[in-house]
């Protein structure tokens, strides 16, 4: 009897959960479906779920007729580049704060976090003017710089929380064995912290890939990553739903997959460890 009722409630919960999650997922599913339709079917007054002529022509069109690959490459360079540079700067800082603690460490961490709270419009004009004067507008280098800086606090924080979990004894033991500090970092700390470093990298690639404020403002045609390229599809004249869907599907697929891999780290990275 007890088993019966719990089996029944499990069924109801399952049904409810699947219905709600399918509804939440629906816009993505619909985009994917539309990307395989012809334009005529995509705007049809009687949209059909699966009974249409599946076609790959939208993907072919987007790839052949627009500089999709250039924008894809921009996204890769900007998100991966800024994340790698960020790691190079953040790892030493996080190491210092995690293992050589002082009274100022906590204040320093909080201050770094506070830079992340700065609303972009507060610095919009100076950054725009500086970029104009230094010829950084619409360049990948310019965006790499901005992305590195806006994500640096998150990187330092994530790495700090990972490093803090490494027992100090392990480092002390290596020190007793006469290891230099560089040997301690490269041969002891980094191998242990590698999973944490990898998740930090992953989360920052995701954040930089999807960052839209600065990419929309600082790029035009040359350095525009996919966020800005997709936005150009919003022009009222000549809107093609099926092609928009194909371009969108190709823009979000890589990050969707990376995101699912890193969902656990997401909680830690985005709440700065405030929720465990």
């Amino acid at each position: 009897m007890a088993i019966n009722s719990s089996g029944k409630s499990k069924f109801i919960y399952t049904l409810l959960a699947w219905t709600i999650s399918a509804a939440i997922f629906f816009p993505i599913f619909w985009t994917l479906l539309t990307s395989f339709k012809t334009e005529a079917e995509a705007i049809s007054a009687n949209p059909s779920l699966f009974m249409f002529d599946w076609t790959l022509e939208n993907y072919e069109d987007v790839l052949a007729r627009s500089p999709y690959f250039d924008h894809f490459w921009n996204s890769v360079v900007i998100s991966v580049g800024s994340s790698l540079i960020g790691l190079l700067i953040a790892i030493p800082a996080a190491w210092s704060m995690a293992f050589v603690q002082s009274k100022r460490t906590k204040n320093l961490l909080m201050w770094m976090l506070s830079t992340k709270m700065l609303p972009p419009v507060g610095v919009l004009i100076p950054i725009y003017l500086l970029f104009r004067d230094f010829d950084l507008l619409d360049t990948k280098l310019g965006l790499v710089i901005v992305m590195t800086l806006i994500n640096l606090p998150i990187m330092v924080w994530m790495l700090y929380t990972y490093f803090r979990e490494i027992p100090n004894e392990i480092l002390e033991a290596s020190r007793m064995d006469g290891a230099s500090i560089s040997a301690e970092i490269f041969h002891v700390l980094l191998p242990i912290a590698l999973p944490g470093i990898a998740s930090t990298l992953l989360l920052n690639v995701i954040l930089a890939w999807n960052e839209a404020f600065w990419t929309l403002i600082l790029t035009a045609a040359n350095a525009a990553p996919l966020t800005a390229f997709i936005a150009s599809y919003s022009s009222p004249e000549g809107l093609f739903y099926a092609k928009l869907s194909a371009a969108s599907a190709m823009a979000i697929a890589p990050i969707l997959i990376l995101g699912w891999f890193s969902q656990k780290q997401l909680v830690r990275g985005l709440t700065f460890g405030a929720v465990k």
Partner: protein, 290 residues
Amino acid sequence: MATTHSRTLAQIMLFPSVVLLLAWMIVPLCMTLYFSFLDYNLLSPGTEEFIGFLNYEFFLTDPAFFASFFNTLLLVGGVLLITICGGIGLAILLDQAIWGRNYVRIMVLAPFFVMPTVSALVWKNMLMNPVNGLFAHFATLIGVDPVDFFAQVPLLSIIIIVSWQWLPFAALILLTAIQSLDREQLEAADLDGAGPFSKFFYIVLPHLSRAVTAVILIETIFLLSIFAEILVTTSGGPGYESTNITYLIYTQSLLQFDVGGGSAGGIIAVIIANIVAIFLMRLIGKNLEG
């Protein structure tokens, strides 16, 4: 001996991060502050002159500011309300023993990874379009007039899109918090004959309060700066009906070239965000003690 050595080294290793972040924060902010006191038009360089607080006076008394301030409040408040309530519900549901939980989780989480420009365009064209959007199609099916979302309820439409993007975040954080709940406490409540509602209000909700606060503060920081969704859907219109403060400052400074006025607005946005940030920093700072 070793400690002085490592302390010096630690300071050297901290140096790049500190200098870069300091430069990133101080230099542009000081420039914004300086510009905010100038009559400065981007199209006529060299004619800047000091005008004191006039930019602030104009910005703060502009009806556009009131409209966009009000819209910002509605946008942040509306999205928070939907994502927190929906997030708690989803978190509780996903915490149950259900078949295929991993797949459900993956579907619920997905919108968070969709870039803002894609989600705004997909909602605008394929779902909310009054002629051939899917919602219009369903409306005609049941014999109702389709809603022209971005003309009739522009702000609500943006609230819906943004909520869709942030619901996964709230659900994920709250689910993580629910999973850390002490099961014995719930079992004890069961033995005492507590119903699902009293269990929710007396055990689950208090346990979640910290996570809810974190979600509210973190989302608020991001939601105050909503930009891409407005740019690709309504461009702030019709009129100022869907303009928020971020978008207003963008139009004033980069579309109307009024650097002074835009800067004054930027400083006001910084002040607003700081008020929120102080609460957030307190919360995280407390966590750091442990």
